[in-house]
């Protein structure tokens, strides 16, 4: 067991021992949040706005290459927040994407906050739709909404929320707009007051759909009640080494049980 955890860089257990070593008092939190998004959408700014930290925010894609962590207390609950490296996608094989993907899947954050650039919704949806396949505890932070207004874009965030099946909160983190609403939405999803029904991708070729459904059936049989069987099937079909390993080592089983435990708690 311990062996397994040592291999897993992003597991929360490993992380907390790591932090203890550093002497940062973050081994106690009620909820863990992950902050994901495309590069240069103002993730670090949102992170700073939530934690009161002053992480440097440079204006070039890929500024944040390592994970940074911070914390805050909201409505008497302690939140730990992890700023993941900005990525365009979770399907390629670069290191930063793997860090982000592994944390969202194996780190099992209570809420994943996706930062979207309101001026480039269509491009940002690529990553968003991928995360929606992995987890069902999501809040979307539609950042840079002031920029969008300046560019004469009108965005119907209610419709977007309905389409995606998750809360969508327009913000302008630079000016501090919308942060309260964002906190409330995070609180609601974390406490199960808002149950997400995330959009799953519908398009695709016939042969792919056939292969996926064949595999999904087996996965669902093996891990009953699993919510992201389709995504795991796709990863297996693409030969994703980390997911294959997870299946081999029964990590998915652990993962799934952990979710169950937290839900009954």
């Amino acid at each position: 067991m311990t062996n397994k955890l040592n291999n897993c860089e992003t597991c929360p257990v490993h992380q907390s021992t790591y932090l203890k070593k550093l002497g940062v008092n973050m081994d106690r939190w009620d909820y863990a949040l992950a902050l994901a998004g495309n590069p240069n959408t103002g993730k670090s700014t949102v992170f700073n706005a939530l934690t009161g930290l002053r992480q440097h925010t440079g204006n070039w894609p890929g500024k944040t290459v390592t994970r940074t962590e911070g914390g805050f207390i909201y409505q008497e609950k302690r939140y730990k927040i992890v700023d993941l490296p900005g990525t365009y996608s979770l399907l390629s094989t670069s290191t930063d994407e793997e860090v982000a993907r592994n944390f969202i899947l194996f780190g099992k954050p209570d809420v994943t906050v996706i930062i979207m650039d309101a001026t480039r919704i269509e491009r940002n949806l690529n990553l968003t739709l991928q995360i929606l396949e992995i987890t069902d505890r999501i809040v979307i932070c539609l950042n840079l909404i002031d920029e969008a207004r300046r560019h004469q874009l009108r965005i119907d965030e209610r419709k977007l929320s309905k389409e995606l099946g998750v809360p969508v909160i327009p913000t302008s983190a630079r000016k501090g707009e919308g942060i309260d609403e964002l906190l409330r939405a995070i609180h609601e999803v974390a406490n199960g007051l808002y149950v997400c029904k995330p959009h799953h991708i519908t398009s695709g070729s016939k042969s792919l759909k056939r292969a996926v459904s064949q595999l999904v059936e087996k996965i669902e049989n093996r891990f009953s009640g699993i919510s992201n069987a389709r995504w795991i099937a796709l990863r297996l079909l693409e030969g994703d080494p980390r997911i294959i390993e997870a299946v081999k080592k029964g990590e998915l089983d652990n993962l799934y049980q952990r979710i169950e435990n937290t839900e009954t708690k």
């Binding site: 365009y88 094989t93 480039r120 269509e122 690529n126 030969g239 080494p241």
Partner: protein
């Protein structure tokens, strides 16, 4: 104080000496490292590979064919064969040899490294296509099984090498043969390329030169005695049988239609707009995935915004973001004129 002229001369001599020592492949150190033992093992492994290929193609291997493949005199082959036999890797019967199951496994392991490495070069590096085979020929004798497994994992357990040959799995599994040679199809057939033989290398280079890649569609317009006329990417070409005999194809899937002559993104001028038609098959691996992550998929509207001070990377507006791409990369992206809306 040492005389500066003397100092310069001495330093020059030292540099020359170091160069002769460390010159890759031809320097003293490189020669020392390539010892006689390695040479013997390489010959044995190449012999196994050749015999395996013979068995795959159902021809009998002889001392002569083996000598030809290894570029040795037939009498130099005998000790290699005896050694292989004493190791239990093959049996000799009459004129030919058969691999034992152990020998076959050994050959498959070498093939696995070879094809994995070609895939690695294609996906993760910018090594030119014509150099893949040659480099893999060296690596196949150096890599251990663990190295192969590590590379395989890193690449996401790939199934095919960049020429379309299946990569044996760690347990030695291979799928049944697919497709037939291009020569075996008839006029009017529309086919898709699934394998291009990478040996001999000059023939392979010629095929690549003609813009024929894995996955591309070919229409056979005319069959002559020594050549085939084909339609590739909107252009008519004449392929000598020597070339077409190295191309394996299968009937094209019905959902796809034959590709039209296309322009590439690099031909776009400042301020012009176009729609992405697809990414060339020659763009693979990480490079291809990266482009798609950036939103380069069929149907995306792109416009050229500006050229850099150095002239080469150009910035394109792709789905709302300004993305800089190098000329050769933009060359992989096929475009078509915008469809008029309304």
């Amino acid at each position: 104080m040492i005389d500066p002229v003397m100092a310069l001369l001495t330093a020059g001599a030292v540099c020359l000496g170091a160069f002769l020592m460390f010159w890759p492949e031809k320097g003293l150190i490189a020669r020392l490292r390539w010892s006689k033992d390695t040479g013997k093992r390489v010959l044995m492994e190449d012999a196994l590979k050749h015999i395996y290929n013979c068995e795959e193609e159902n021809v009998t291997c002889t001392f002569h064919s083996l000598a030809g493949a290894l570029l040795k005199e037939p009498n130099q082959i005998t000790p290699i064969i005896t050694r292989l036999e004493s190791l239990g890797l093959l049996t000799i019967s009459g004129q030919g040899f058969q691999l034992t199951s152990e020998g076959k496994n050994y050959a498959l392991r070498i093939l696995r490294v070879h094809r994995l490495w070609e895939r690695y070069l294609a996906e993760e590096t910018g090594v030119p296509e014509t150099a893949w085979h040659e480099q893999a020929e060296i690596k196949e004798h150096i890599f251990t099984e663990e190295d192969a497994n590590r590379i395989s994992r890193q690449l996401g357990y790939p199934r095919y090498d960049p020429h379309g040959d299946p990569i044996p799995t760690a347990s030695g599994d291979l799928p049944p043969h697919r497709g037939r040679l291009l020569n075996n199809f008839s006029e009017g057939d529309i086919v898709q390329v699934i394998h291009i033989e990478d040996e001999p290398s000059d023939v392979y280079a010629e095929i690549i030169e003609r813009g024929i890649y894995l996955g591309i569609q070919i229409e056979i317009s005319k069959k002559l005695k020594n050549s085939i006329h084909i339609l590739v990417a909107g252009k008519v070409q004449t392929l000598p049988v020597l070339l077409s005999g190295n191309i394996t194809v299968q009937p094209a899937p019905e959902e796809q239609k034959i590709e039209e002559p296309l322009q590439s993104l690099s031909s776009l001028k400042t301020g012009e707009e176009a729609e992405v038609a697809g990414i060339s098959r020659a763009c693979r691996g990480a490079q291809r995935r990266r482009l798609m992550d950036l939103g380069v998929v069929p149907g995306t509207v792109v416009s050229m915004v500006m050229t850099s001070a150095g002239g080469d990377p150009k910035a394109y507006n792709i789905r709302g973001a300004m993305i800089a791409l190098r000329e050769d990369q933009a060359g992989f992206i096929h475009i078509q004129p915008l469809k008029k809306v309304n």
